[in-house]
């Protein structure tokens, strides 16, 4: 049985008289010519279109594959950068995964600075005590100077007494000669005492000046050290705050990069799955091409009928030949759906 003319034997049974066949011959030849021309035209058109679609799909798939590889390379590069940042942070002791490490470092720096400031305060207190001691020495020096004044007066009076004694000794002539020697020696002692007093007074004055300079220096040092320590602690605290903020920010950025990398990785998975559309489309197009080949066979069969009729061959035999060819074409018809899946969702897996 064929879909065109029924079974062969029926055709023979229904054979027309010779004169009727001859009358139908031009009509049959014309119909066969139209059928073959139309089929050939459709086959040629569809073949061209399908080849073009196949080429476009393959080109698109190739481009997408290249883009995918580039994207994957870039994602890997970004991942390496994130790792480098993490390593750099760990080298500086500010591990990304260790907020505690940052807090410990900050506490250590603040503790050290506190100890430094306290030390400076102690030095300042000692300096102030030193200033008081210097003042006490100055007061004592003043007293000593006053006492030296009295000593100078005593030396002056002793000198005067020695002078009077030497005058009296002169009046006593030879009886006062020994006394004159004693008076001269007393006068010499008074002179030496005056010279010593003057010398001591100069030394005391020098000491007072040195104490004044020391006092100024000690006060300046005490004030300067304390101010510097307090200022340093403030600056360090600001620096640590900035460092903390920076570490937090870097940590957030690295976490964001990791989230992005994970999202991109998921999307790459979708792309890998979806890119397989090229194979599915190619297989569908191949099935269409095969069916087009069958159509071409049909067109050739119709053309053979036309040629035979035009050459005056036996019409019944020609029709038999046509039916035979169409039967073959029907048998070769693509009866399966090349690609059964209608979506790009991942297919089933079956392990035997």
């Amino acid at each position: 049985m064929n879909r065109w003319f029924g079974r062969g034997p029926d055709l023979e049974a229904a054979a027309m008289p010779r004169h009727s066949q001859e009358a139908l011959r031009p009509l049959l030849a014309r119909a066969a010519a139209q059928e073959s021309t139309m089929l050939e035209g459709q086959v040629a058109f569809l073949h061209t279109e399908l080849v073009q679609v196949d080429g476009l799909v393959q080109e698109a798939a190739t481009t997408l594959q290249q883009a995918l590889r580039t994207l994957d390379d870039r994602v890997k590069a970004q991942h390496r950068l994130a790792l480098s940042v993490q390593q750099a942070m760990q080298i500086t002791g500010l591990g990304i995964d260790s907020t505690e490490a940052t807090a410990t470092l900050s506490a250590t720096i603040v503790g050290t600075l506190d100890a430094f400031v306290n030390n400076m305060l102690e030095i300042s207190k000692s300096s102030m005590k030193l200033v008081e001691e210097v003042e006490d020495i100055r007061i004592r020096s003043d007293r000593m100077e006053s006492m030296l004044g009295e000593l100078g007066d005593i030396a002056g009076q002793t000198h005067l007494l020695a002078l009077n004694a030497s005058i009296e000794a002169a009046h006593a002539r030879k009886f006062g000669a020994g006394f004159a020697i004693v008076a001269a020696e007393v006068s010499k002692l008074a002179d030496r005492s005056t010279a010593l007093s003057t010398n001591i007074q100069q030394q005391i004055e020098g000491t007072r000046q040195a104490l004044l300079r020391t006092d100024t220096q000690v006060q300046a040092i005490a004030s300067k050290d304390l101010n510097l320590a307090i200022q340093s602690r403030g600056e360090s605290e600001s620096l640590i705050g900035a460092l903390d903020g920076s570490t937090r920010k870097v940590k957030e950025l690295v976490a964001e990069m990791e989230v992005n990398a994970r999202l991109i990785s998921e999307q790459v998975g979708h792309v890998v799955r979806s890119l397989q559309f090229e194979d599915l489309v190619h297989q569908t197009l191949q099935a269409c091409m095969q069916e087009l080949g069958n159509l071409q066979e049909q067109a050739s069969a119709w053309r053979a009928l036309r040629t035979g009729l035009e050459n005056g061959e036996d019409a019944s035999q020609l029709l038999q030949n046509l039916c035979g060819t169409l039967d073959e074409v029907e048998a070769a018809q693509v009866r399966f759906k090349a690609v059964k899946r209608e979506s790009l969702a991942a297919g089933d897996v079956d392990l035997f």
Binding site: G269, R273, Q276, D279, R341
Partner: protein, 120 residues
């Protein structure tokens, strides 16, 4: 050097997607465009796994599975069939030929890796 996997498919896109997925996981990949080329590539290789399509020119995947199973060195090598074919009859043919598993296209990278690690 990672384990060596031979992927057989007439579609270069499919082969590239398999290479992309499995190379990431550290496998070494060999490629072939059909059964005949696959048999040629397999010679002298110590393959840990073969992944093959079914519909290919010159030699289809089912025949390839039979041919490989006939070779002593591949008698116990896992062979996965990766195809658009999902019919029970065709799956049975694959199983009878000696395939280890059947994966219907398209595959998801995670699932393919999961199956590969399971059969290795």
């Amino acid at each position: 050097m990672g384990k060596c996997i031979l992927t057989v498919d007439d579609s270069s896109t499919m082969r590239q997607m398999i290479v992309f997925t499995l190379k990431e996981a550290g496998f070494e990949i060999l490629e072939a465009g059909d059964g005949v080329e696959a048999l040629d590539r397999a010679k002298g290789q110590k393959l840990s796994l073969v992944i093959t399509d079914v519909n290919m020119p010159r030699m289809d995947g089912i025949t390839l599975v039979k041919e490989l199973r006939a070779l002593p060195e591949f008698r116990f090598t896992p062979i996965l069939v990766l195809t658009t074919e999902s019919g029970i009859d065709m799956k049975q043919k694959g199983k009878d030929a000696g395939a280890t598993g059947w994966i219907v296209k398209p595959f998801s990278p995670e699932k393919l890796l999961e199956v590969v690690n399971k059969v290795l």
